[in-house]
Amino acid sequence: MKFVDIITSAIANSFRSKLRTGLTVIAIFIGAFTLTITSGIGTGVTSYINSQVSAIGAADVLTVSKTDDAAATESDGPAAYDPEKATTISLGNGSRPGSTIQALTDADLDTIKATSGILGVDPAVQVTPDFIEYDGSGKFELTVNAPATLTTADLAAGAQLDNESATDQLLLPTTYLDALGFSTPESAIGQTVSIGITDFAGTPQQVPATIVGVQNETILGAGAGLNQPLTDRLHDVELAGTPAGAPQSYASATARFDLDASDEEIVAIKADLADQGYASQTVADQIGSFETVINVIIGVLNAFAVIALIAAGFGIINTLLMSVQERTREIGLMKAMGMNGGRVYALFSTEAVFIGFLGSALGALVAVGVGSVISNILATTVFENLPGLQVVQFAPSSIAIIIGVVMLIAFLAGTLPARAAARQNPIDALRYE
């Protein structure tokens, strides 16, 4: 029997008992549907996180802060005062209002910079501008997204912030466009806006800045991004009038290391910093914990889908065993007519694989349809504030893998009945009534 004939016969055979095949296909369908949906959610969420955070763009950055005072946690009472130790600050600079944290001083920055593997360090300064105004169209509150310089933004138009540039650059969220009187993201690019900020003495000042890009809303904070020169300039304005000699302190600093550093080298740098009393995290560390949670959830859902598929596998065994029983005489006849056991085996396992294919292809197809519809509905309702989030996304490769895996499970399930069929003795089979 030719290969093509085996396939066509197997397909024809599986349609002979439509109800039985149909029920088995439904069982496989449920498993494949669930697997496709969960893998789609995995793909969707992961790609969203990646587009939001662009881990690649910030792979060479460590966020460094001072480790909490060890003495305070190890003994019952407060630590003894050490005038040499860094200043503590309570408000602003990124700390929880009213709380006390160990701050970084300029001396700390020098220590961090001297650590081997660290190429440069910038203090994380937080500026609090009062408003933004364009072309006299009114003043609007401006929130600043501090980590904007660390990440690669998801752009609606324009370019990324350039920290090396001499110009003062601004990355505007899409939500500001209407208020400032821009009709499209493109029309905002290259325009100069003025940022209002109050100096130390309480005098309002204005600083011009150029819009280089328009950013889609993100989960990391909806504020505008400022490049380093603009941040520095605003910071200088804020500090204008500060009494001389007042010490500078920062809640955290960003340290850059070699982009090509291996994981071991990064671990070594972090350990080195930890020894000196600094806590440090790469962007990957920060995202990592988030992704772990999502992966666990998806893993659990996949486990349920696999359980459904295993149950479906027994359905295939049952279907085919009944089919073998029903076709005993036919198998006997084919063997009497010179069909060898291997071909009989191939015929029945092909039937199993076909049933698996039918169930998984239908399941995947319906999952893609339903998933896309649900995803679109969610994107305009529940996740309206997260533009660009398509919760369910489908990668052709993962769908192909799911169909392949289901067909493999079906083949394994078909092994038992196919062997039973291949071993039939033509005489016994023909006598069978």
């Binding site: 004939d5 016969s9 005489r329 009497a336 007519m337 010179g338 069909m339 060898n340 023909l430």
Partner: protein, 240 residues
């Protein structure tokens, strides 16, 4: 002296073991020559079907030897046995063994499909076989919609489609009424005479057996040499 197509030499076959052991055949020797028609006659349980199965290489004898054109069947590889059964033998069964919801043509070309013949050639040869048996107009009908006689003619077409050297017929008229049975008998004997196909018929119908060139009587697993054609006409006991 030509080599017999099939030659059974003192073959025996038993089923089961211990107390349940049943000797179906206890040593039978038969020579089948090319072109002859042979009836294997006996009551049910006499071992006549077992003998046919052994001759058709559907089963292996426990004792004795079976020669296919002079070659011991034991020395044939599985592949050659399958080729023999597929191309040199044709089978006609009392219960037809047609796949009920497949078309008549599909049923008839099954041996060709197993042999790996291309679909186009399969169709042509299948239609030719059906024309021979005047069933061409039923080619697309489902097998279950045929009458008994048409079913048996479809089975004969299936047996013929590979141009076999030997046709094994197990009670070919057992499920047919007398008139239809006679038509089927005529077809089988005309194939034997016109095409020189060797015919081996297993039956307990003495009239059918009498039409064959030669009769082999089997009783309790051995050949009953005391039976003669005359004895058939006055059988002892009731006969179906």
């Amino acid at each position: 002296m030509t080599v017999p197509v099939l030659s059974a030499q003192n073959i025996g076959k038993s089923y089961g073991s211990g107390a349940n052991r049943f000797d179906a055949l206890k040593g039978v020797s038969v020579d089948i020559r090319a072109g002859e028609s042979v009836a294997i006659v006996g009551k049910s349980g006499s071992g006549k079907s077992t003998l046919m199965h052994l001759l058709a290489l559907l089963d292996d004898p426990d004792s004795g030897a079976l020669l296919v054109e002079g070659t011991d069947a034991k020395k044939l590889k599985g592949k050659e046995v399958n080729r023999l059964r597929n191309q040199d033998f044709g089978f006609v069964f009392q219960q037809f063994f047609l796949t009920a919801n497949a078309s008549v043509l599909e049923n008839v070309v099954l041996p060709l499909k197993i042999a790996g013949v291309s679909p186009k050639a399969r169709r042509a040869r299948g239609m030719k076989a059906l024309e021979q048996l005047e069933l061409a107009d039923k080619a697309k009908n489902k097998a279950m919609n045929l009458s008994g006689g048409q079913k048996q003619r479809a089975v004969i077409a299936r047996a013929l489609v590979n141009n076999p050297k030997v046709i094994f017929a197990d009670e070919p008229t057992g499920n047919l009424d007398t008139a239809t049975g006679a038509v089927v008998e005529d077809i089988l004997f005309s194939l034997n005479k016109d095409k020189g196909i060797t015919l081996i018929i297993v039956t307990h119908d003495i009239d059918l057996a009498a039409r064959c060139d030669r009769q082999i009587f089997i009783r309790d697993g051995i050949e009953d040499v005391t039976r003669s054609p005359e004895a058939i006409s006055k059988p002892e006991g009731a006969r179906a």
